[in-house]
């Protein structure tokens, strides 16, 4: 089981957005949302065309005009140059884009930027001030839990989110909790080492 939680509730998923977008393609170009009823629920419809989007990322307010179809991942990476989250599968399958949104781990590729407004978004880039390492990041370094390093920021966020939610997690819990993140270089032995260090309450010294 993965620790990644689906974003549910009043938001619009990528899929349902695509469904309703067909209804609005002939609408005049407007800024700001229109209200539509979809599947018995009122939803705000943005676009077509660019709409102002403001995100709270790592404690900073970032604004841009984005098309409503732009994902949180692409907004972070391309508009705001917050590139800790990586675009790998772009379909919620690999965990490389894991960020925390209101303290929950989410796949940034599977959330629309317009839906992430008003939420607190934290990425690996924002875990610790420049020049410092967050204990989770440090555990990854101590245990050489990275090779090419492309999956690492996503793994770090997934680990952080899981430990925040399950402070007494055992190593085995964490291995299950991180099952939604994949690495191609094969760094799992190092990640297991980092997890062992962290699940000891963060009190243990750096690894061998």
């Amino acid at each position: 089981m993965s620790d990644q939680e689906d974003v549910k509730g009043p938001g619009i998923s990528r899929r349902s957005f695509l469904k309703i977008s067909a209804l609005t393609t002939s609408a005049p170009l407007v800024l700001g949302p229109t209200v539509l009823e979809v599947e018995g629920q009122e939803v705000h419809v943005y676009g077509p065309g660019k709409t102002p989007v403001t995100l709270n990322v790592n404690g900073r307010r970032l604004s841009a005009n984005l098309e409503p179809r732009v994902t949180l991942l692409d907004a972070l990476r391309e508009k705001f140059e917050v590139t800790g989250p990586k675009r790998v599968c772009d379909r919620g399958l690999c965990g490389a884009c894991t960020v925390m949104m209101d303290n929950k781990a989410v796949y940034a590729c599977s959330v629309l930027a317009i839906d992430a407004q008003g939420k607190q978004i934290v990425t690996t880039d924002g875990l610790a001030p420049e020049g410092k390492l967050h204990p989770v990041s440090a555990a990854f370094v101590d245990n050489d839990a990275q090779q090419c390093g492309f999956c690492t920021p996503g793994f770090v966020m997934a680990t952080k989110a899981f430990l925040d939610k399950h402070p007494n997690a055992t190593k085995e819990d964490l291995h299950r909790g991180l099952g939604g993140n994949f690495c191609r270089c094969g760094t799992y032995a190092g990640i297991k080492g980092a997890v062992a260090q962290l699940s000891g309450g963060g009190q243990q010294k750096g690894g061998a």
Binding site: D125, Q147, G149, L178, G179, T187, A208
Partner: protein, 721 residues
């Protein structure tokens, strides 16, 4: 007098061989490392391609008019123009650069391409009929070879085993997809950020493709998100981004593949299938080998797996046929051809041992002389692996006879690889203020290149690693080579050891008078330059460098050079312990042991990571990975990361690595280590499954379906018998 370049003896090493953290670890784990995919250049355009949906086709018509009229579309470029033949689905036909990604994707959808479909073949199961193969356009006979006298050797054999074995086409699935960002600051200069294992070679390849002088192409890369062999050469996308940028007035154009085309078109490891016959005497003496093998590496062919792998079987007859089909481009994939060869060799020999009622461990030891020239290494490694796995204590004959549906088994395999350091060049400068700078055109692809370089320089100059400024990943630095074939650490370590030694000697010449000593009496250690016989006569590193006055020292180091600092030809042994649920067919890795010979180890922590990573990759391709193709449509059916599954954290079991280093191994110098340990897992795990359930699952990956099929087949044959 010529300097005698020799790695310091074990007791003289201060940083070489020590367990240091990866120097680029913090920047990677904090998300601050910038990969090509992460870069956003001013006024950057985004490019995507129109993909051919057919496995084999000719382009007959392209209509880009609608796309060209779309607001935000800046440049449209035919890649495979009308008349061009396409050899696999997912090939780019036209590329579009636009102000943002959504616009580029819309423009791609607005382009209309018409094709003439041509006959395709994407499968490779069918055994080529050799008489047909020599005439058919779908087959290329790659090898036909006989040595010794196999016919009489089989007649003398008291036990003969025949079987079918195979491995599928797998893809590289780099997490950072292939791609680049190209820009023309002016019409005479091209600047390229590219995701590559080959910073030094890209300029020539690109220059040739676009007819532009390589010397005017600047290539840069800080980090690469995986390559595994698939990023050694320039891609059509790299060429397209440069051409699109030119069309767009020089603006930066970023063209990165999406996941689907990455899996379809960015590289794969060829399949290999074989009918194998092996013969031995009753006492286990291996006498004869016969094989008929085939496999596909797409239209380009995939070479021929070197079988029988590592074994010098005295009497052999073998043939290999390349199936020329439309499955995608084969590219070097960590230890090209070796994993396939290992499966095609170690599995039939394991089956032969089972038929001889021998423990495979004993069978290998019995025939150890046939493993020349690494017989001694393999023999020592087998003993180490035995201890780490408890093989001798726990091994049981084929078929776990204990009650219950879950069966346990052990399997082993052997492998080899070259790994000699490649041509490498470095410039090492000691400045009068004590700062040290190292410049090289190499790249760090995750192997820990930066860390190894700094460990060597730090050890040689006696100053901390963080006092050395290392610049790599740029073709304007001294020319290095591609990171392929496990050749990087050997190459860069050796070049830097020579450069650091020369620079140190030049520094000693300047410093000696101040210490009232001869240059040859000095040593650099603990951040000081001192008289070796009298540590009280010393200067701090900074004071010593100040003696340079206004002139810095730059020493050039090269590999190969004097002194044999790197070597090749490693041996490795791996053992796997698995459990197989005979009701569900699920294979679980309990434990794997990797014993790896690698010469002198510069950076043990990173070297172990390389071996562990290779073993994990091996588990991944043994249990999960397969490029599944559909003959009707000619396309890949699992071009996403849920259906093309990689091993996850919970799939790898307990992993134990033992590096064969120290006396008897160190003397050979540094030898690359990335490829070899990825070779054995396929055969070791397959053999462990056979040991557990009593029957061979002939084809990788060992999916539940294939395990159950093998069990059912054995059951129905047992019922008939």
């Amino acid at each position: 007098m010529a300097t005698d370049y020799k790695w310091p003896a074990a007791d003289q090493r201060t940083v070489i061989g020590k367990r240091m953290n990866r120097v680029d670890g913090p920047v990677k784990s904090s998300g601050r490392a910038k990969y090509t995919y992460d870069l956003v250049r001013p006024n950057m355009l985004y490019a995507h391609g129109v993909k051919c949906p057919y496995a084999h086709a000719k382009v007959t018509k392209i209509d880009t008019s609608a796309a060209e009229k779309m607001p935000g579309v800046v440049a449209v470029l035919p890649i495979n123009d009308v008349g061009k033949e396409i050899f696999w689905a997912g090939t780019d036909v036209v590329a579009v650069a636009a102000v943002d990604e959504p616009t580029a994707r819309d423009a791609v959808r607005a382009i209309k391409v018409e094709y003439e479909q041509l006959p395709h073949l994407v499968l490779d199961e069918k055994e080529p009929d050799l008489s047909e193969a020599e005439k058919s356009e779908w087959y290329k006979v790659a090898l036909k070879e006989t040595s010794g006298d196999p016919t009489s050797a089989f007649q003398q054999s008291e036990v003969v085993h025949e079987g079918y074995y195979g491995t599928p086409v797998i893809t590289h699935c780099c997490l950072e997809t292939h791609g680049s960002i190209s820009e023309w600051p002016d019409s005479d200069h091209l600047f390229v950020h590219i995701s590559t294992q080959n910073v030094p070679g890209i300029a020539e390849q690109l220059g040739k493709a676009i007819d532009f002088p390589a010397s005017n192409i600047h290539v840069h890369q800080d980090h690469v998100g995986g390559g595994f062999g698939s990023k050694l050469g320039l891609d059509p996308w790299g060429v397209a981004s440069a051409q699109l940028s030119k069309k767009a007035g020089g603006k930066p154009v970023k063209m990165m593949l999406d996941r689907k085309p990455e899996l379809e078109t960015a590289g794969c490891r060829p399949s290999a299938r074989a009918r194998v016959k092996v013969g031995a005497k009753k006492d286990g003496t291996l006498l004869a080998w016969e094989s008929y093998s085939w496999g596909t590496g797409g239209v380009g062919g995939g070479g021929s797996p070197p079988i029988p792998y590592v074994w010098k079987v005295p009497n052999q007859q073998k043939q290999h046929v390349n199936v020329v089909n439309n499955i995608g481009p084969s590219r070097a994939w960590r230890a090209p051809n070796h994993p396939q060869a290992c499966v095609l060799t170690m599995c039939p020999l394991d089956d032969l041992a089972a038929k001889l009622n021998m423990d495979t461990f004993d069978f290998v030891k019995k025939n150890i002389d046939l493993l020349d020239p690494r017989s001694k290494i393999y023999s020592e490694e087998l003993d180490v692996a035995d201890k780490l796995m408890g093989w001798k204590a726990r091994w049981h004959p084929r078929g776990d006879k204990t009650a219950g549906p879950v069966k346990q088994g052990l399997g082993l395999a052997l492998h080899t690889w070259g790994g000699r350091g490649h041509n490498s060049n470095t410039d090492l400068t000691i400045h009068p203020d004590g700062s040290v700078e190292v410049k090289m055109g190499t790249q760090d692809i995750g192997t820990g290149t930066r860390t190894s370089i700094l460990q060597v320089v730090s050890d040689t100059l006696g100053i901390p690693m963080d006092q050395i400024n290392l610049l790599i990943g740029d073709n304007q630095y001294p020319r290095d080579s591609a990171s392929g074939g496990s050749s990087t650490i050997g190459g860069v370590s050796s070049a830097n050891f020579r450069a650091a030694t020369d620079a140190k000697n030049q520094l000693f010449a300047k410093v000696a008078p101040a210490l009232n000593a001869q240059p040859g009496d000095l040593e650099a250690a603990d951040g000081r330059v001192r008289v070796a016989s009298d540590h009280n006569r010393s200067l701090s590193w900074k004071e010593a460098c100040a003696k340079l006055g206004a002139t810095s020292i730059t020493a050039h180091g090269t590999n190969p050079g004097e002194g044999d600092l790197t070597n090749s030809g490693v041996g490795g042994v791996q053992m796997a312990d698995v459990s197989v649920d005979t009701e569900t067919g699920i294979v679980k890795i309990n434990k794997m042991v990797g014993v790896q010979d690698c010469g002198l180890v510069i950076s043990p922590k990173q070297a172990e990571s390389q071996v562990l990573g290779a073993m994990i990759m091996g588990i991944s391709y043994s249990l999960y990975e397969e490029k599944v193709m559909d003959q009707t449509t000619g396309t890949m059916l699992n071009s996403n990361m849920d259906m093309y599954r990689l091993a996850g954290l919970g799939d790898v079991g307990e992993l134990v690595v033992h590096l064969m280093s120290g006396p008897g191994y160190d003397e050979r110098g540094v030898i690359g280590i990335g490829e070899p340990p990825t070779v054995s897992p396929g055969a070791a795990i397959s053999n462990a499954v056979a040991n557990a359930i009593g029957v061979r699952v002939p084809f990788l990956p060992l999916t539940p379906e294939r395990v159950l099929e093998a069990l059912e087949k054995a059951e129905s044959e047992g019922a008939k018998a």
